[in-house]
């Protein structure tokens, strides 16, 4: 009788683990050191963790992005509870990124990456607006919408989330080659986007 040993396949490869760990540590250090762009709100800065979450998601998949968001949330003022608000962005980016990477034309790939990042950021925003409007009562969702979308913060956040990752995509594409697979990522992106937008709209 032949015996077979079933080897359980880990959900992440060593490379994905290393990328998630290193970029997670980096995001924690940058946040902990207070390296941030001033000017979002009085004494509230634009934090840089978006750069590291995006690169980790591109190179190692959405689970790596979630790990980085968890690690960043550990050192943020609000705490671990802020972690899920990054997820719509991570899932939307992860849903489209493998297709974007396959585009042969570098200029088109670059543009498509920015378009998807802009869309993911816009969707992510709704959850944060809900958090600030419903839990912290700092502003209404409507006021946050107009301030962020028209007043300039959206552009700055987009630069944080997409500028350096897009440079990495063009200059060292091999590092950010999507060697990961995430079953059902389209559904995860869709469900998380719907939840974020509905939360925001309910508090409009």
């Amino acid at each position: 009788m032949r015996s077979e040993t079933a080897i359980k396949q880990p959900i992440m490869s060593p490379r994905q683990i290393a990328i998630a760990g290193i970029f997670g540590a980096l995001a924690m250090i940058v946040t902990g050191m207070g390296l941030a762009l001033p000017g979002y709100l009085p004494l509230v800065n634009f934090e840089l963790q978006g750069t590291f979450i995006t690169i980790a998601t591109m190179a190692a998949g959405p689970i790596a992005g979630i790990i980085v968001s968890f690690l960043v949330s550990l050192v943020s003022a609000v705490g671990v509870i802020s972690c899920p608000f990054y997820w719509p962005h991570i899932f939307v980016l992860a849903a489209f990124y493998p297709k974007i990477y396959e585009v042969k034309n570098v200029a088109l790939r670059f543009v498509l990456f920015w378009v998807v990042s802009a869309l993911a950021l816009f969707i992510q925003y709704w959850g944060w607006w809900w958090l600030y409007a419903a839990v912290f009562k700092i502003m209404t969702v409507e006021a946050m919408f107009w301030y962020n979308m028209v007043g300039g913060p959206y552009i700055i956040y987009l630069l944080i989330w997409a500028l350096i990752p897009s440079i990495v995509l063009v200059t060292t594409p091999n590092f950010v080659k999507p060697r990961w697979r995430m079953p059902g990522i389209i559904w995860l992106a869709l469900i998380s986007s719907i939840i974020a937008i509905i939360l925001g709209l309910l508090w409009w």
Partner: protein, 298 residues
């Protein structure tokens, strides 16, 4: 340990709070945060804040440091106050079954200008509750990071059956914090020697100025990640399905009792919170203040 302390505020002490299992510490954090979200009444939230402060004292934290931590987002509190002075009538007032007790205007009528910002007892009570909520969030995070070491967090996640790959990634992050912090500091210093400085407050120009810092950090990290991955593969990571833990954690009697208390507290707090019975609502304190004021006036 010093770098870990800098970023996490973890203090390796042997206190009542430190001796709990990592899972209990996380449950304690969640119980504080969820209760703070579920309640909006300042009296309830003040009691909760007192409990967090007591837990902080049990973890040998200084009272003055905890108060300073709560006051860090002071501009945020001012924003919350301003917003609720001007927006309370449009956002929350409709949830009241009575007319708010107005005490004046934030901006009085000057000629044809104003008045704006009708200040009410209910509005101020609600604002106090929201500010306390934010304070509890920050203090609970501080307490959690003070008592839970990085290895506690990883061990707790492993015991919670979080996949090995995820806990391993978190271990790598904690393990490389000191090295990466040194790297980031050296890049910052090297660029400062070359004349790097942020002299503008324009965020677009600041973003451009940050490129010489962020680009080398990212490129070095990419190389480091590849090295670590190669090292993991060469040491046979994932080859064996059986994995031993350096730090084995076990639930003790104290942990079971604490878990039972925390779960009960969490259940009750959700029950009296906004999602179910809505008892811990700011209307409670507003009503008390109105009653006290009316008794004095009589």
């Amino acid at each position: 340990m010093s770098v870990i302390s800098t970023f996490f505020g973890y203090k390796p002490l042997d206190t009542f709070m430190h001796r709990f299992d990592g899972r209990v510490k996380f449950l304690l954090y969640l119980a504080f945060v969820i209760s703070a979200v579920a309640w909006s009444d300042p009296i309830y939230l003040l009691c909760l804040l007192a409990v967090v402060l007591i837990c902080g004292k049990l973890a040998k934290d200084y009272f003055s440091s905890m108060i300073k931590t709560i006051l860090i987002p002071f501009p945020g509190y001012i924003m919350i106050l301003l917003f609720n002075i001007f927006a309370f009538d449009y956002t929350v007032k409709q949830t009241l079954s009575w007319t708010p007790l107005y005490i004046g205007w934030a901006i009085p009528k000057i000629g044809s200008f104003g008045p704006y910002g009708h200040v009410s007892i209910e509005g101020l009570t609600f604002t106090l509750g929201v500010c306390l909520r934010l304070g509890i969030f920050i203090l609970a995070s501080r307490l959690f990071l003070r008592v839970a070491s990085p290895s506690d967090i990883v061990a707790a996640l492993e015991k919670l059956k979080i996949p090995l790959s995820i806990t391993m990634a978190i271990s790598v992050a904690f393990g490389y914090l000191p090295e990466l912090a040194r790297q980031v500091s050296s890049i910052l210093e090297a660029q400062k020697v070359r004349g790097w400085n942020i002299k503008t407050k324009n965020p677009f120009k600041v973003a451009k100025a940050f490129a010489p810092i962020v680009v080398p950090i990212v490129t070095r990290s990419m190389t480091r990640a590849e090295f670590i991955a190669a090292a993991m593969v060469s040491r046979g990571f994932g080859a064996s399905s059986k994995r031993l833990s350096l730090k084995e954690i076990k639930f003790t009697k104290k942990d079971y009792i604490a878990t039972a208390i925390l779960l009960t507290f969490l259940g009750v707090s959700i029950l009296i919170g906004i999602w179910v019975l809505n008892i811990a609502n700011f209307r409670f304190t507003s009503f008390l203040i109105r009653s006290l004021l009316s008794q004095r006036l009589l």
